[in-house]
């Protein structure tokens, strides 16, 4: 058995349709950046860019008037701003999981989707970083967050989880960009070598850094990639753990929980996979990538969604159990009076419905391979995970220790516009990425194909005719 053969025992299939040549992979992926954009791309891009306009208007108004333009008020001082921050950071996590953790576990099916997922990480983290940046009120003194010498001779308080968060998310963004760019170098060289116009050659050539596919380079490159994957794995686990400590180190019932770090990480991976799948399905149909992005990949992702949904459901249940088991009256009041039956019961129902109940359809293979269904489920999970953060933040804050200070948070139109605007930023970035950069890691996909095995010819003398015969069926839809 050679490494590219599917393992029948665990129901594996081919990751690239058998019969595809190396050239097919290059053509399928690179032509997206070379042909004029399909109409679907322009429609999506127009909508996304309009939302960016909404974002600019909302944030401009916010800077002009101050954070009072949001619905945040006593006692709900954190509301959509931090909800959106946590939601976007979480979405980023699936990208790193796919690119780093699955790489270390030698899950070769990741090669079809890792570039995509990494790009998603970067744009999601950009959207996430916007919110802590703009929610501070006086954005012109944002540099107080950094350990820089200032006129008051003060340094940041390094015991504050909010500062840990700055370092964690900042590191996460930087490492994600480095990881993504490192992976892109050989593929940028491919685009450079295919380019027919001077400016394409110049631009791709500049960023390809003079890559020649040299094996002496590949050796260091592969080692760098392995090291990046190895350090990104604990990094991604640490980032959402640190985000969760923003809450867990406080004394608010509903926040003060030791389960938060793993619970947040599981939720992050869950929501991230749902978002990868959402954009993936759109891109697959807009750019017709059926030859590289197989139903099998989607099936795998749906299994992951089911697994992480169960983890998240377990965490929800455990929060209730621990509240009861602690015997603390504030904890019990929060979980048994406020969260499922209080003023935000509807948000809690959205959360449980979308995150725990809906993904149960993925126990069935029919559901895992049904594209319209999985699109709906992925959107539902995105919504559910947004509500999870809303429930944690707003429903924990709206009834604090003194009933006299209880209040009800209502978002304003500026809240809605800012959030919708970041969705626009995310998709604008993503659409530009899909249009101008190879959205599938060509070099990595080629490395998993049978032609990449130096001993393929010796082993398969008699199977080569079979291979030649199967060339005819390349353009079939789905399946393998």
């Amino acid at each position: 058995m050679s490494y590219y053969e599917p393992i029948a025992g665990i129901d594996e299939g081919h990751f690239v349709r058998p019969g595809s040549t190396l050239r097919d992979v290059t053509d399928d992926v690179a032509c997206v950046t070379e042909n004029p954009a399909p109409r679907g791309w322009w429609v999506c891009f127009g909508i996304a860019l309009s939302l960016v306009g909404v974002f600019v208007a909302c944030v401009g108004y916010l800077f002009w008037r101050g954070v009072g333009v949001w619905g945040n008020t006593s006692p709900v001082y954190w509301a959509w701003d931090i909800t959106n921050f946590v939601w976007w950071v979480g979405i980023g996590h699936a990208g790193t999981l796919i690119s780093a953790i699955l790489f270390i576990f030698r899950q070769r099916w990741r090669t079809g989707i890792n570039r995509f997922a990494e790009a998603m990480t970067i744009f999601a983290v950009i959207c996430a970083l916007i919110f802590p940046g703009i929610h501070v009120g006086r954005v012109w003194v944002i540099y107080y967050m950094f350990p820089l010498p200032n006129q008051m001779s003060l340094w940041p308080n390094f015991k504050s989880p909010l500062l840990w968060d700055l370092f964690a998310v900042g590191t996460y963004f930087t490492v994600s960009v480095l990881f993504w760019y490192t992976g892109l170098i050989p593929d940028l060289a491919t685009l450079r070598d295919r380019s027919r116009t001077l400016w394409r050659q110049r631009v791709y050539g500049f960023f390809a850094l003079g890559w020649t596919g040299s094996n002496r380079h590949w050796q260091n490159y592969e080692r760098a990639y392995l090291i990046l994957a190895a350090i990104s794995t604990p990094l991604v686990l640490s980032v959402h753990s640190v985000v969760s400590m923003d809450f867990a180190t406080s004394v608010i019932p509903g926040w003060h929980t030791t389960i938060f770090p793993p619970y947040f990480v599981a939720g992050a991976v869950f929501s991230g996979f749902a978002m990868v799948e959402t954009v993936f399905l759109v891109a697959r149909s807009v750019f017709k990538l059926h030859r590289v992005v197989l139903i099998r990949h989607l099936d795998m992702m749906n299994k992951f969604l089911l697994l992480t949904s169960l983890l998240v459901g377990y965490a929800y249940a455990m929060e209730f159990f621990v509240a009861w088991y602690s015997g603390n009256e504030y904890e019990m009041a929060h979980f048994f009076k406020n969260r499922p039956t209080g003023p935000y019961y509807w948000a809690w129902l959205w959360m449980v419905g979308c995150n725990v109940l809906v993904p149960q359809v993925y126990w069935f293979k029919k559901a895992r391979t049904n594209i319209p269904l999985m699109f709906v489920v992925a959107i539902m999970i995105n919504i559910g995970m947004w509500f999870e953060r809303f429930v944690i933040i707003v429903s924990s804050l709206n009834r604090d220790f003194l009933p006299s200070s209880w209040g009800y948070f209502r978002p304003t139109i500026i809240d809605v516009g800012t959030f919708a605007g970041t969705i626009g930023i995310f998709f604008t970035g993503f659409l530009l990425f899909m249009r101008w950069l190879p959205m599938v890691a060509m070099a990595e996909v080629k490395g998993t194909m049978q032609q990449a095995d130096p001993h393929w010819h010796e082993r398969n003398q008699n199977r080569r005719e079979e291979f030649a015969a199967s060339r005819g069926s390349l353009v079939q839809e789905g399946g393998e």
Partner: protein, 188 residues
């Protein structure tokens, strides 16, 4: 006046191969023939090529280790000095700085260790590879454009002690090369 084609100095011999199998086989042959200044160019890393070329293990890990230690130590000293020495900050009624504040320093120590390791891995890799290098005589070849697509190449530098244009060409042709060409230095 630019020099004529023949007068330009030959810099390397470039051989094209059709498959990963052929290039690996040829790499074994070139190594056994005693060449040292040569390389294989492939669209993806070919399994077993490092051994076929007789390469030593990459030293990148040591660079990353040095960066990791710098990040770890730098983060610790930054926090200890800022909150413990320069402006002692008492939070939670605990003495400022290490060792009492050490548990609260762990997340940032960890993050900066990772950050500097990542810089070490990427920039160390580029440094070891001598990249970016946008001008290389190998780009003079038209056929070499498919080295990033679906063809496999071996290049032997003319300044290799064993290089002899005819003998080296014969060796590569014997190894199933599809096409062998002599690359001369660029005109400009």
């Amino acid at each position: 006046m630019s020099p004529t084609f023949e007068s330009r100095r030959a810099v390397l011999l470039l051989a094209e191969f059709a498959s990963a199998h052929d290039v690996l086989h040829a790499a074994n042959g070139v190594r056994e023939a005693g060449y040292v200044r040569w390389d294989a160019h492939t669209p993806f890393p070919v399994h077993g090529m490092d051994r076929a070329m007789g390469l030593r293990d990459s030293s990148l890990g040591w660079i990353v280790l040095a960066c990791a230690i710098t990040g770890l130590g730098g983060a610790f000293w930054m926090m200890h000095w800022m909150n413990g020495i320069d402006y002692p900050l008492v939070v939670g009624d605990k003495p400022p700085g290490a060792p009492y504040a050490l548990p609260a320093m762990i997340p940032i120590i960890f993050e900066l260790t990772i950050l500097l390791s990542a810089f070490g891995a990427v920039f160390g890799m580029l440094g070891l590879n001598g990249l970016p290098r946008h001008h290389h005589p190998i780009f003079e070849s038209e056929r070499f454009l498919s080295a990033t697509d679906d063809k496999f190449f071996i290049s032997i530098e003319a300044n290799d002690p064993r290089f002899e244009a005819e003998k080296t060409r014969a060796l590569l042709e014997r190894m199933n090369a599809v096409h062998v060409e002599l690359i001369r230095e660029a005109t400009s």
